[in-house]
Amino acid sequence: MECTDIINTLAACLEVSGTDPGLAQFIQILLGVVIVTMAPLIVVILLIWVERKFAARVQDRIGPNRVGPYGLLQTIADALKLIIKEDITPAGADRLIYNLAPIISVVSVVLIWAVIPFSPIHIGVDLSIGALYFVAVGSIGTLAIMMAGWSSNNKYALLGAFRVVAQLVSYEVPMVFALLVPVLIAGSMSMQGIVEAQRGMWFVILSPVAALIFFISTQAETGRAPFDLIEAESELVAGFNIEYSGMKFGLFFAGEFVHVFTNALLMASLFFGGWVGPAVDQVPALGFIYVVLKAAIFYLFSLLLRNTLPRVRIDQLMAFNWKFLVPVSIVNVIVVAFLLQVVRALGLAPSAELSNDFIANLPQAIVLLVGSLAIVIYVLQQLRNFGRQERLSQQTVTVRKEDEVDMLPAQAAH
């Protein structure tokens, strides 16, 4: 590596000035890591303010407006309050696991930022298995919730944790099937490779069904409404975090806020071209603006959903996943794979030189889009039939089944 400028080739520059090569490498890595880790933690302060202001507008309130201009410093005041609050550990809690859980929950989200590409040259690290990396890291968050629920020594916390874990693992299935589609089209699992492959055409046009399924299942992965069984106050007192207080409680929510924005970034990178935009090759810094703008749209949309939709019941949640999202996502993968072969056999696929050209990508995009539309029409028809049957059966059966309890009756043992 040549020493061209101090920002992008720091290691080479340090070596020129006489530092040990290994040490120079390490310094470069450490600086990169600190920058990438700081980003989500700074962003979260702003995100909480955006979220509260947005929720307030939806509910016809003003929202935070006292601390700082437009209430911008409200989050900092809240953080200070959380730090000086008494931190209560319930009697009988498993202390080590109890303290580790909120930390792991934040770490698992922050780790995803390592592979998010912000511009053609700015990315934490472009792993060749980036797409699989963020799923793997995200699945550690599930574990944190399990640890929190179990270590609190509270039935409701444990029950909440069980429900949440069942929800998170279930919605991981359609999410990963949707993720298969960009990998299939781009022929790459590196995040940078997937974004590069969208220079000609965004993947959302090639497979809108995959994009929609990815969006829905990531919304469920963060546990936001309408999938917010994570904190079902009315049913489970609070859920897995009931016994937490002070900063530990705050960390779970900081993790959740970052997670929502992280998912918006992933959505933008995987389906909406990430940093791709005009003049991004000349001025790479523009990539930051493009990707964050795209992510902001999904972030706000996700907030709108959260603030306007009612919570679903757990049986509806599971049925929606296993009987709707999973089958549709599987069919979608098959259709996309089949059409890609057809496109190639007919010679409609863009050649390697022209893959960045919008016009050259059009034939392939049209074929795939028609395939997606066929799926959508078929699914809508099935849903309409299903809805009709449901209405008919509702008219005949008026007595609703009692809500069932999750726990087995304790008297079985006695």
């Binding site: 696991i97 793997a136 550690i140 599930t142």
Partner: protein, 171 residues
């Protein structure tokens, strides 16, 4: 002797995770603690895969073993009654498991460790590292592994059907 560089430091750390986690699993009286130690051990194994340039396998290790199997183990522990606080570390069959463990160790020692470290000829081993793309091609190539690939699918289907039959036998 080990040369002290990033790779050997990583190897030492991940080996400590793997072995320490394994010891934790067998020595902890709380089954949930045991499951968490197991996760630590599996995480160490994922790190070892990375050091061997098998990134895909490392991701699989985290995704399947930590993300799915560990969760399943915790669910299974929760299904069993009052096994979270075991009274004793040993039970009546300890000699049997000790026998099996020693047998396995001898098997690995004779079969793998001794041949590799007693100057086995490694010049025939190709220096090329297979990529994940190579794996994908090999899995569906008619001359290579397409049959095992499909058999794996049948195996998974059978596993799922079996599990459902066993779990729901009361109907």
């Amino acid at each position: 002797m080990l040369e002290l560089n990033a790779q050997s430091i990583g190897f030492l750390i991940f080996s400590a995770f793997t072995i320490g986690g394994g010891l934790g699993v067998v020595s902890s009286r709380n089954l949930i603690h045991g499951a968490l130690y197991l996760i630590l051990s599996l995480f160490g194994a994922a790190g070892l895969f990375v050091l061997l340039s098998a990134e895909f396998l490392a991701a699989v290790q985290v995704l399947v073993y930590i993300g799915a199997i560990a969760i399943l183990i915790i669910f299974a522990v929760m299904l069993t009654r009052s096994l979270t606080r075991l009274g004793e570390v040993f039970n009546k069959q300890w000699w049997l498991s000790a026998l099996v463990a020693i047998g396995m160790f001898v098997l690995i020692l004779v079969g793998v460790i001794l041949p590799v470290f007693s100057g086995m000829d490694t010049s025939g081993v190709s220096p090329n590292v297979a990529t994940t793309i190579d794996l994908g091609v090999a899995l569906v190539d008619g001359n290579q592994y397409v049959l095992p690939f499909e058999v794996a699918s049948i195996l998974l289907t059978a596993a799922m059907i079996g599990a459902i039959v066993i779990a729901r036998d009361n109907e």
